[in-house]
């Protein structure tokens, strides 16, 4: 058991290193922060001083090692724009993002899972087809399109809700709705197919054959099995809580981590981008680890494998 999780934790750490390295390389290859932040009109001496001050003249491998040794010491660097510690800039944006993503996560689960279960239990019925059509629509329409449609209908045409900003709870309704609908659609499809798969298994027939009433067959025999694949997708959704709203925050001018990321990338504000990516990689990896632990809890077969691994 211990070794099973030691391997998983080692793999998680490696994932984080790879993500951070990738971000480091791509950002440095894609443009000069000095030109982006100071503007093309800045005098050459100013640019040279800026580059020297931020260590941009050093060889890239040196910058890379420097960066990693700083992370090891817990320093995530400073923003090149205003000199504040990157981590501070990011942390102060997190509550705003969670204000959207946490309620959205709740609605995704509350809508998607029951809809998927219901559709599976009434396979082929009109409701099943309606749920699946809605799910395919929610699945395929990109979130920025959905966001714009919602703005057009509820903000522009009907005038019921504001189209952007963060002044009151009413401003959060459209972004949360946009996030919820897409996620609920994914979950509904996933839950439905997981349930259908399980309902076709011989042990479901065994349960019916021994006289278990259908309602109990569903709740105590089918659901615990269908939960296993569904937990995977839920884990993925937990992983996107921090930075899963980049597009939606941009469309609705919501000052969260996602919007900070967009601005920081445009400016090549290296420390801020790297800090956000590190945070995203860590939440993703943590939620994956939690999913692995949950698998062991939900599926006794994996528990046994873990004990022998």
């Amino acid at each position: 058991m211990g070794r099973y999780f030691a391997i998983r934790i080692g793999r998680a750490a490696l994932t984080i290193v790879l993500v951070v390295t990738f971000a480091f390389v791509v950002l440095r290859l894609s443009g000069d922060p000095a030109l982006m932040i100071l503007g093309p009109e800045a005098p050459p001496e100013v640019i040279a001083a800026f580059r020297k001050a931020w260590g941009l003249d050093d060889p890239i491998w040196f910058q890379y090692l420097d960066y990693f040794s700083a992370i090891a010491k817990g320093e995530l660097g400073r923003s090149m724009r205003d000199g504040r510690p990157a981590i501070e800039l990011v942390l102060e944006r997190i509550p705003a993002t969670l204000a959207l993503t946490l309620p959205a996560f709740f609605f995704k689960v509350a809508l998607g899972v029951p809809a998927g279960i219901y559709a599976a239990l009434h396979r082929g019925s009109a409701i099943d087809r309606a749920v699946m059509m809605t799910a395919v629509a929610g699945f395929t329409v990109p979130s920025f399109v959905l966001a714009l449609i919602l703005v057009l209908v509820f903000a522009v045409q009907l005038g019921w809700l504001p189209s952007g900003g963060q002044d009151s709870w009413r401003h959060a309704i459209l972004p949360i709705t946009t996030l919820s609908l897409g996620g609920a659609a994914v979950l509904a499809r996933f839950t439905r197919s997981a349930m259908l798969e399980v309902l076709g298994q011989p042990y479901i027939r065994t349960a019916s054959a021994k006289g278990v009433p259908w309602r109990m067959v569903v709740t105590s025999h089918a659901l615990p099995n269908a939960a296993i694949p569904t937990v995977t997708i839920l884990g993925f959704m937990v992983g996107t809580l921090i930075a899963g709203a980049v597009v939606v925050e941009s469309v609705f001018a919501w000052p969260g981590v996602g919007r900070l990321l967009v601005v920081a990338v445009a400016n090549r504000d290296l420390a801020v981008v790297q800090c956000i990516l590190l945070l995203v990689a860590m939440t993703m990896v943590t939620s994956n680890l939690i999913v692995d632990f949950l698998y062991g809890f939900l599926d006794p077969r994996l528990r046994a494998k873990g004990a022998h691994a």
Partner: protein
């Protein structure tokens, strides 16, 4: 004596394709009946339909009576009492027949709670007794285990224990040993017949293994393309099969003693349910088929006190067999 279960004109169709085409079968209390036939002949479907275990899109008609009460179309609550309580069923692939995420104790106790008025410690004691009965060693501790921690033969024993939990009057064993090794097969069959004797329970043994059926059953029904084509006491059927299909099945068995002979195979294949031939379904593969065979499907007719055959050429078929034996 009134039969325990009587099936009359049972028909099942999946999306317009008939898989059962009028099955008639009666079963006495404590009787062991074998149901044989090739894959797809409708052996399992007969009993899944009788217990209402087929998927919803299956169209079922006819009649299945248990002690005179109709089961087809019975309310769900009544069917739930019959399943496991009066008629229990075990299946071919034990590995996937138990729920992988629930302990054996939970699955056994569920059946006990549903069909027996047992509470608390009594449930656990009875679960342990059942596991002992089917020969699971260290039953008390093994109750906490999950299905994947047992071997295939052990899981089938647990399935049998679960089937016995409701003290059923009839056990349907649907190819209970097909997925098991030969030595385990013999043990499971031995267990089934011991339990059947002790509990004076009736049994239907579904199998495509004629030897298994001959050893364990009083009576055999041969199925072909969704119908019963011959019914007889086991010893008579094996000594003197009348329906050309039954003759073909038995002709394909190697004799254990006596001179070696060439094994005969039945030519052709089972007809596709969507394209059943008019008349007798076996006629296209039958050496004795005559013109009238293609006109109407023959129904089961008595040829002696306890034998029925669905073949208009039964007499010719019997003569042909005796002729071969005389040679």
């Amino acid at each position: 004596m009134s039969p325990l279960v009587s099936i009359a004109g049972l028909s099942v169709a999946f999306g317009g394709a008939p898989v059962l085409r009028g099955v008639d079968l009666a079963l006495g209390k404590g009787e062991a009946v074998g149901l044989v036939g090739e894959s797809g002949s409708g052996k399992s479907v007969t009993w899944l339909a009788a217990l209402g275990l087929l998927p919803r899109h299956a169209k079922v008609s006819g009649s299945v009576r248990l002690d005179g009460r109709e089961l087809l179309g019975a309310p769900a609550a009544e069917l739930d009492r019959v399943r496991g309580g009066r008629i229990a069923m075990i299946f071919q692939d034990p590995a996937s027949a138990l729920n992988p995420v629930l302990t054996i104790r939970r699955q056994l106790c569920e059946a006990l709670a549903l069909h027996r008025d047992l509470q608390g410690e009594a449930v656990k004691a009875e679960a342990k007794r059942l596991l002992d009965l089917v020969g699971i060693p260290d039953a008390g501790r093994r109750l906490q285990a999950y299905p994947h921690e047992f071997s295939g033969g052990q899981v089938q024993r647990i399935m049998i224990a679960m089937a016995l939990a409701g003290n059923p009057d009839l056990l349907i064993a649907d190819e209970p040993t097909t997925a098991l090794d030969a030595t385990i097969q013999a043990q499971i069959l031995e267990l089934l017949s011991t339990i059947r004797r002790e509990m004076s329970m009736a049994m239907v043994l579904i199998s495509h293994d004629l030897g298994v059926v001959a050893e364990n059953c009083d009576r055999v029904a041969v199925m072909y393309a969704g119908r019963i084509v011959e019914q007889a006491p086991s010893n008579q059927l094996f000594a003197d099969p009348v329906h050309p299909y039954a003759q073909g099945l038995i002709g394909a068995l190697p004799p254990l003693d006596g001179p070696r002979r060439r094994l005969t195979a039945i030519p052709g294949t089972v007809p596709d349910p969507a394209h059943m031939p008019g008349g007798c379904a076996f006629a296209p593969r039958c050496a004795l088929a005559a013109e009238p065979c293609g006109l109407a499907a023959p129904s089961l007719a008595l040829i002696s006190d306890d034998r029925t055959v669905a073949c208009i050429r039964a007499e010719a078929s019997r003569r042909a067999l005796l002729g071969i034996a005389a040679e």
